[in-house]
């Protein structure tokens, strides 16, 4: 027990589900309140801004479709990161793993010469494998050489960004791209069908939700999931129990990187139809997915919901840009504020704050 002014802080060991949900929501609301100050600083009435955003996103089917479209890569990456975080592997590299998947999918789409019906499945498979390989490099480095996973995953993002830049400026620069740094457009058979009237590539969405269910099952019902949770909670206990750290870490990053790779393949086949500069392919989905996973608190199914929340923020960014003439980067500010308040709220979850005015100061 600690005393801070008139408050008493009491440690609580296991916060209830309700407390976790309530406090997380409170953190998001507080972040939005602070974001209101930014609108105000831009000379935009915050009340007006939030109303315009609401009308542009949640108030119409078109708006909803945009929210979902933005959420698709976040679902895939977020679910993968949830799995990695459960093993205490701090995968900050989903951004690079998305790009790896995009590159592999592009390679298959443009250069494989596979028959048309095989093209899309092969693109997804290649995307998964490329993301997985990009994710397993830091896993190996961590287990074999004790390289810090945060640093190695983060740095590999930049490596992959420059690989993409090199490809679109160099060997894969399309003869039909008229001098732009694009690859050629994918053939029709390498493009995903959309829900008519929207830009939602629903196949990737279905894959993402299926993966969330599969990962939830994996974590709760399988040996690998059990070992993942043991490793994540106590490495000493894992060692004592004879759990193979290398095997678990590699599997976890195969899944985590692979799902991000699927997201990259989905963005290629469903949105862009061509490899282009990395900032246009991903727009920071890989980093936002970290917040998605954090907010999901270890549950892959909850990551679907939190991904939709951040899909909403991305869609709101588009609205802000068009209707309020503010830069799209405001979404980064939103994301940063939400992450900031969420991490701050951790403290509230494990400490119960009680109002108890001062008694004798020297109370033992």
């Amino acid at each position: 027990m600690k005393r801070v002014g008139p408050f008493v802080l009491e440690r609580r060991l296991a916060p209830s589900r309700g407390a976790v949900l309530g406090i997380s929501l409170l953190a998001v609301v507080l972040a939005l309140l602070v974001a209101a100050v930014i609108f105000w600083g831009y000379g935009v009435n915050p009340w007006h801004a939030y109303r315009v955003i609401f009308q542009g996103t949640l108030a119409s089917p078109q708006g909803w479709a945009e929210v979902v479209r933005r959420a698709i890569p976040l679902i895939l990456c977020g679910v993968g990161l949830v799995v990695a975080f459960r093993a205490q592997f701090w995968n900050i590299g989903a951004e690079g793993q998305i790009l790896a998947g995009a590159v592999a999918a592009t390679g298959v789409a443009l250069f494989s010469g596979l028959p048309d019906p095989w093209l899309l499945p092969a693109m997804f498979l290649a995307g998964f494998l490329a993301g997985a390989v990009w994710g397993m490099i830091p896993a190996l480095l961590k287990v074999k050489l004790r390289v810090n996973d945060v640093i190695s995953t983060l740095m590999l993002n930049y490596v992959m960004m420059y690989i993409v830049e090199w490809l679109v400026h160099g060997p894969w620069k399309g003869p039909t791209a008229r001098g732009f740094a694009y690859s050629d457009l994918f053939p029709r058979a390498a493009r995903l069908p959309l829900i008519p009237g929207t830009r939602v590539h629903w196949i990737t969405l279905v894959v993402g939700v299926a993966m969330a269910i599969a990962c939830a099952f994996l974590l709760s019902r399988t040996k690998l999931g059990y070992e993942t949770r043991v490793v994540g909670q106590s490495q000493d206990a894992a060692r004592y129990a004879g759990i193979d750290f290398l095997k678990v870490t590699l599997w976890v990053m195969l899944i985590s990187g692979g799902l991000a790779g699927l997201a990259g393949a989905g963005e290629m086949a469903g949105v862009h139809y061509r490899l282009r500069s990395p900032a246009h392919i991903s727009m920071g989905y890989g980093y936002t997915a970290i917040i998605v996973a954090w907010l999901a608190r270890g549950s892959p199914l909850a990551a679907v919901v939190t991904a939709l929340l951040f899909g909403l923020i991305f869609a709101a960014g588009d609205v802000i840009k068009v209707a309020l003439a503010m830069p799209f980067q405001v979404t980064d500010v939103f994301n940063g504020l939400i992450l900031f308040f969420l991490i701050g709220s951790e403290l509230l979850m494990y400490w119960h704050i009680r109002w108890a005015p001062k008694r004798a100061a020297s109370e033992g």
Binding site: R221, K223, R229, A241, G242, G364
Partner: protein, 522 residues
Amino acid sequence: MMAAPGAGDLGGNQNSPPLVLLEGVTKSFPGVVANDRVTLDVRPGEVHALLGENGAGKTTLMNILYGLYRPDAGEIYVKGRKVVIRSPRDAIACGIGMVHQHFKLVYPHTVAENVALGLQGTPFFGPARVVERGLRELGERYNLPVDPKARVWQLSAGEQQRVEILKALYRGADVLILDEPTSVLTPQETGELFKVLARMKEEGHAVVFITHKLDEVMEAADRVTVMRRGKVIDTLPVAETDKASLARMMVGRDVVFRISKAECTPGKEALVLRDLRAVNDRGLPALRGISLTVCRGEIVGIAGVAGNGQRELVEVICGLRRAQGGEVVVLGRPLTNRSPRTVADAGVAHIPEERLRMGIVPGMTVEENLILKKHHRPPFSSGPLLRLAEVRRFAEQAIEEYEIITPSPKTPAKLLSGGNIQKLILARELSGEPGLVVAAHPTYGLDVGATELIRQLLLRQRDAGAGVLLVSEDLEEIVSLADRIAVMFRGEIMGIVEASAAELGEIGLMMAGTRSGMGDPR
């Protein structure tokens, strides 16, 4: 502000008034009285050893003196004046300094910066520079050479300890408390430390020296206070006592009682160790050729003060530490340097020393913890899947059989009490008829009821035909449970005695490094 009442003159020292007097100090923690009406006087110019087993209350008492805990009852007098010590800052103001077992140093900083940290009256800019000069003087006076500009991470453990001592001296400590100061030192460094203590004595300081090593008491102390289970057993001059009687006081011979146990019937060999060698975490030799046999149906106790290789021995047997040489054979199978899983699957149960850090996964549920180590085998899994119904059935059975008190099998294990966590670990480890049980300090820190239950469980394992290797610092426990007792000292076995013929005095001497004549490394 009152004068100290006349302290009972316990030793044969000169009649100088005590520098520090603790009177009737009592401190309880939930479920245990750590200090029970403790009275202790420390005189200027003496090294006063505070001797006792782990958990005897030595460190609690000194933490009270240093202001880290508040006593429930009792008084503290410093130089005859009654004082209330609320924090280390108060203690320092009273001239009391403490060197903790784990150093409180900022590793990237220099020695002088560490000493300057938190020091009153230093300039805002460059406080370390002012300190440097003083440090050199102190270093020369007490023969504590340390370069004030060296960075702490570059220093050896012995040098870091010197920094801690200098830190206390710089703050004007008249009384210096050292908590197990030799546990991190090499024998040479220990010798140097004792020279420093002698020097401090000459300067009129008093040193309180917490230890459980008899040798060091005999070598370095003037008087010794023996504590057991929170109480002071006696305070007496070292010159008037010897190791054997100190060992007896430490362990308490009046309370040796035997749990009824059946006649030992050695059968097949459960564990054979041949010339086992290993190093500790710092790369220093921890096991120097251990040879030992544990038969099925017997308990072999490993006695010894902490840090003489017991931990490393357990880890090597269980596959958690590499053996540099020698052989481990379990139930007839060579298992030297095999993975922990191979060892566990071969029928070795391991009750680990650090039950919270290693024995359980605190955030996972009771039922999930009950299958740790066994989750990869039938009936708890088939193929890649866990069989949750089987897990639940096993958990419910184990909770009932081992009397684990938990709201439900779904409760996180960290919410259980210490005794119930240990019961959980035993329920898991003892299921499936292990051939060898390696138990490290299985009752450490537990209440009487849980202790009794766990001892009975170990005896039942023995009677069911398992070999049991029991590592414990509680000599009483070893004597009452074990069939044979092996005493470890500095990575070697000093001797093996039959428990029925064991004399505590003899075991105490072997714990202090005297080799037994009747060694029988069967």
